[in-house]
Subunit: 287 residues, 2 copies
């Protein structure tokens, strides 16, 4: 088997499969990275499964999702490999990378940074779309059908990456995604300002899923988005109504935005609707 190698860190049986964690040296990020991988048991050695990528939110590692979301029950039933990368480069010790919970370490924003000192390591967009997908192709036999979903910052990542790479990611959904970061204080004053720079303002829109939808002209997409209406970030950072409005103006993008009374931003919300998301992806990936 060709390609870069991965090292198994842990493997634990969970439902009819194994929850594994691997590490590898990333060339895009210039550091060692962990990722989680759930692998259903094969009925025979030749059996292959689709691959669903999950992108986590601010402050997370690869652990939160595998410990708290309960996805394994449904990935096991639907026979999907599920891969969960970390949320930023690790161990780079760049100046200022650990001063804020919403910037730097564990806040890589799934973009390719243009500004110093971030541009050598903070390349999570290329990491997910090129390096990690290739690593999975090289090391884990699969059907070649990929999907992507995520939560919050990871919902933003999944939407941007999924919409900009429709041939690579056939299915797409998000939990409480950051939908329109160029219109929020976090985007304008923190993440995009520092990673991308004011002087590159023209390039911000390629990392804003509301803007990406406005100009989207690929194959028709059906996107499931779940959002709690008691989410503490709803009207300051997430802005799902902007995403929905953009989709309503583009016949190529259908966003099924489901507002859920009383739910907040936590994994208690995610776990409640996980079955529906796995079902959404399995329908497309197992078709």
């Amino acid at each position: 088997m060709a390609g870069a190698s991965v090292e198994l860190v842990s493997s634990v049986k969970c439902f009819n499969g194994f929850q594994k964690v691997y590490k590898h040296v990333s060339k895009e990020l210039n550091c060692s990275m962990n990722f989680s991988l759930y692998e259903p048991v094969k009925a025979n050695p030749e059996e292959k499964f689709p691959v669903l990528f999950y992108l986590s939110g601010l402050t997370c590692t690869e652990q939160n999702f595998i410990q708290k979301s309960g996805f394994q029950r449904f990935a096991s039933e639907k026979k999907l490999i599920v891969v969960g990368p970390d949320t930023s480069p690790r161990g780079c010790n760049l100046p200022g990378d650990s001063e804020r919970w919403d910037f730097g370490v564990s806040a890589g924003c799934y973009l390719d940074a243009l500004m110093e000192p971030w541009s050598k390591n903070y390349r999570m967009y290329s990491y997910v779309t090129k390096e990690l997908t290739q690593l999975i192709k090289d090391n884990f036999p699969n059907t070649g059908k990929f999907g992507i979903f995520g939560h919050s910052m990871g919902g933003h990542g999944a939407m941007v990456i999924g919409l900009r790479n429709p041939d690579l990611f056939l299915s797409l959904s998000a939990f409480a995604p950051i939908c329109n970061p160029t219109q929020t204080e976090w985007g304008k004053d923190v993440a995009f300002k520092n990673y991308l720079g004011e002087e590159n303002r023209a390039k911000w829109n390629i990392y804003d899923s509301t803007e990406v939808i406005k100009s989207y002209d690929g194959p028709e997409r059906n996107i499931l988005v779940d959002q709690g209406d008691d989410d503490e970030f709803l009207n300051t950072i997430l802005l799902p109504q902007n995403l929905k409005a953009a989709a309503d103006s583009n016949p190529k993008v259908k966003v099924n935005l489901r507002m859920h009374p009383g739910f907040n931003h936590s994994y208690f919300f995610i776990s409640t609707f996980m079955a529906d998301h796995i079902e959404h992806h399995a329908k497309i990936l197992n078709a």
Copy 2:
């Protein structure tokens, strides 16, 4: 409403219910304690539900179970209140209470200690069977039907408490319980020795579920026990075969011991079989 009061710490919607955490001042333990409580949404204000108690294992607080087990999906479906106490007194700062992961803080062993300096605070048996159950009766309307289950040290607690209080706890199950602590190094040299004392050796058996089963003469019990065969504690601390042998010799106790190939001691194992346990309890408590 009479009785001691509880203070709400947090409440988060999860499935069709709310995952809450409360705190209260415990008279049995002489300290402030947290407990978790999952409360299904009521169809009408008068609707009442049974109560299922979950006892956690060594090193846990009330948080591990509510974040990692995925029980809320099934408690919501079956309409059960689920209560999860902490695993020991907190904040007492007794000499030596934080030197070992398997003794003292987060290792209360669900017994009433007889030895100094533990006997004033380490009264988890009375806390669960008397104070906490009364607190639930006083503060949360319910059908009066209680069940109990737990994991590891909490599986030991559930078995001992459930078998010794058959009129209070109608249903009983355990994940990877510590079954015969008087025959293990942890029991003989650490927990029972220090909490109960060598001079009280005759009283150890009331906190050993294998011994309790041998002399059990109450109403017939059907107990579900799940155990992974790749569990790192299987043959040193857990000893489920001793429990099964005792049950096989007592027609009043039926233990359905299910050995699961490849599973270890973690919440990945617990989450895999959670649906079966909630079903086991719901059948009895909702009858």
